[in-house]
């Protein structure tokens, strides 16, 4: 990945000094990684929108209060906030995302995604549905590791810090997750 012109830390520093545009830049830079990760953790687009918003409200409030102490680690810090919010939610509601088959996917809607045409919309929906169903089948710890590594772009070391394990455990979970997904792809002849 190319090094950005202005680092996250520089943007954070300028935002704290009152430059609102820097937050927008951070959002544009990381929105896909963070949103996709949240989505695959909660399995619901609307919930994901809520958690994404709630995460950044926490980010803003922390930055405004001068309590940001994560120099050089903006994205892992944001992902830790998002992950903790999701975990708190599931702890309170005592539910975890459940495995559903393809016929059970009814609340998953892409109305709010911008597509240029109907065909693109259909292909995107099919790909995301399949990807989501595959990831849903993984055990929770493997799913979390896969999402944080692949979609959030965190290192195995950063994932270990967030999930309270060690790097070797994160690597093992990721390996099992990828092998598990491969088996599912082969078993069901899925084309992504």
């Amino acid at each position: 990945m190319n090094k950005p012109l202005i680092s996250d830390e520089e943007l954070v520093a300028q935002y704290i000094q009152g430059n609102e545009a820097c937050l927008k830049t951070l959002l544009i830079r990381h929105k896909s990684q963070i949103f996709t990760s949240i989505f695959y953790l909660v399995n619901d687009r609307y919930l994901a929108e809520d958690f994404f918003q709630e995460t950044f409200i926490k980010v803003i409030n922390t930055l405004r209060a001068g309590k940001y102490k994560e120099s050089g680690k903006f994205l892992p810090w944001v992902m830790r906030i998002a992950r903790n919010l999701v975990m708190d939610h599931f702890r309170k509601t005592k539910t975890l995302p459940t495995v559903v088959d393809s016929d059970g996917v009814d609340v998953f809607t892409f109305i709010r995604i911008k597509e240029t045409n109907a065909e693109e919309k259909m292909v995107r929906k099919e790909t995301q549905d399949k990807g989501r169903q595959l990831i849903e089948h993984l055990p929770e710890d493997q799913r979390e590791t896969l999402v944080l590594r692949h979609y959030a772009g965190l290192s195995f070391k950063e994932i270990a810090a967030i999930t309270g394990t060690n790097t070797n455990t994160s690597l093992a979970r990721m390996r099992y997750a990828l092998k598990g997904m491969r088996k599912l792809i082969e078993k069901h002849n899925i084309i992504l």
Partner: protein, 77 residues
């Protein structure tokens, strides 16, 4: 020849190795068919996962920016 584990291959796929280790793993992949098979299998799944990225709605971004603007005003008062 240095022996590499499955986790080393995984770190290689996700660019979590230094330049020296990268070169050693590349050499090992050329010489070790079973390691190359593992690499190819994992890499294929990783590539497929890349197609499923999503973005939040623009209205969510707008709400976040509105909160930021409001909190800036509160802070300055």
């Amino acid at each position: 020849m240095q022996v590499f584990t499955q986790d080393d291959v995984l770190r290689f796929i996700y660019n979590e190795v230094d330049a020296k280790e990268k070169k050693s793993i590349e050499d090992a992949l050329r010489l070790n068919p079973s390691l190359l098979t593992l690499y190819t299998e994992l890499k294929e799944v990783v590539a497929k996962l890349g197609n499923a990225k999503m973005e939040p709605d623009n209205s969510t971004i707008d709400l976040i920016m509105a909160h930021s603007a409001a909190s800036k005003m509160e802070t300055s008062h």
